[in-house]
Subunit: 175 residues, 2 copies
DNA sequence: TGTGAAAAGGCTACACG
DNA sequence: CGTGTAGCCTTTTCACA
């Protein structure tokens, strides 16, 4: 049992049961996966083994989707981040699907949302400089036959990043 | 009572030196922090100990900023994600700073970018439903005295999430 | 679920190239 | 100077109550 990169054909939404302990575990673990089970256990009032069991179960059930490291984009050569709003010519299923596939293949595209409203897609793109961004738009965006227009917002400050969910319905003290 | 992660007295942003081994380690580790050092070592041609040392060094130097878990927002009660473009009335330093602080306090705000162009800020917000989003806008956005207007894009599909950087897999001649 | 033992992985000291 | 090896320590996992 190794990589299960295969598509998940089903999502056990209804079967997945989360209790208050799980929430309190996740509230800590999502911020720092190196936060060890023993300490989480002390904080939530459970043994380390119980915390491990719950983490394992939540990984298998898909509640924990992945565990990743956030790197310093600046030091690694990508000091510039741009958000891009894209308007397509035709919003037919084929076209949408094709554009999604194209974005998945672009390594510089960090995020890609298919949205309602003024634009069809909104991207987050990292680049080495603005010249690199221009090259990206020419090679990845403007070559897409279905793009009507796009708008760029250059990020001046990443005020908040990450995806920590609000899991704190309460800070009920144990005991 | 062991050595805790003491505060980092210095951050060598500019002096940090990364070689090809580090890049190849990060290329794997950033996608999956449970990818153990021994296997990384086999893949990049280093011993497990060397991989550990390099990971530790990169944590301390700040190249690895944090290690987090991405959770299933849908199952955890936040099935709706909205992107929000915000236009401020005054772009003075005080106002900008105040708005940033306000967004940092909002747990539902996953991401917040201060950008150039058509908007001043672009947010990613998770919510329980559209009614919850409306409440959010009323309580978190419209109460901010400096907001001129805002636009909402509702996410229909998270085509791509996460922040994995393009780390030249094997071919990065010093350029 | 908690407990305690076994297994696995991470961390460090030391010698080598 | 960084690596590999070996050994220790921590963390996770498993069997059982």
């Amino acid at each position: 049992m190794n990589d299960k990169n295969a598509a998940k054909p089903q999502q056990n939404h209804s079967i997945t049961a989360i209790d208050e302990f799980d929430r309190r575990i996740l509230a800590r673990y999502q911020h720092d996966t190196r936060h060890i089970a023993q300490r989480i256990g002390e904080e939530v009032g459970l043994s380390a083994a119980a915390v491990q069991r719950r983490l394992k179960r939540m990984r298998e059930s898909g509640i924990i989707e992945r565990e990743t490291a956030t790197l310093d984009a600046h030091t690694l050569g990508y000091p510039v981040t741009c958000l891009v709003g894209i308007d397509l010519l035709e919003e037919r299923n084929e076209q949408i699907k094709a554009f999604k596939q194209a974005m998945l293949k672009q390594a510089q595209v960090q995020q890609c949302y298919y949205v309602t409203g003024e634009y069809d897609f909104i991207l987050t793109v990292v680049c080495r400089d603005l010249q690199d961004y221009e090259r990206f738009t020419q090679e990845a965006i403007m070559t897409e036959p279905n793009v009507r227009s796009f708008t760029t917002w250059v990020v001046m400050d990443k005020v908040k990043v990450g995806t920590a969910l609000p899991l704190a319905p309460d800070q009920t003290p144990p005991r």
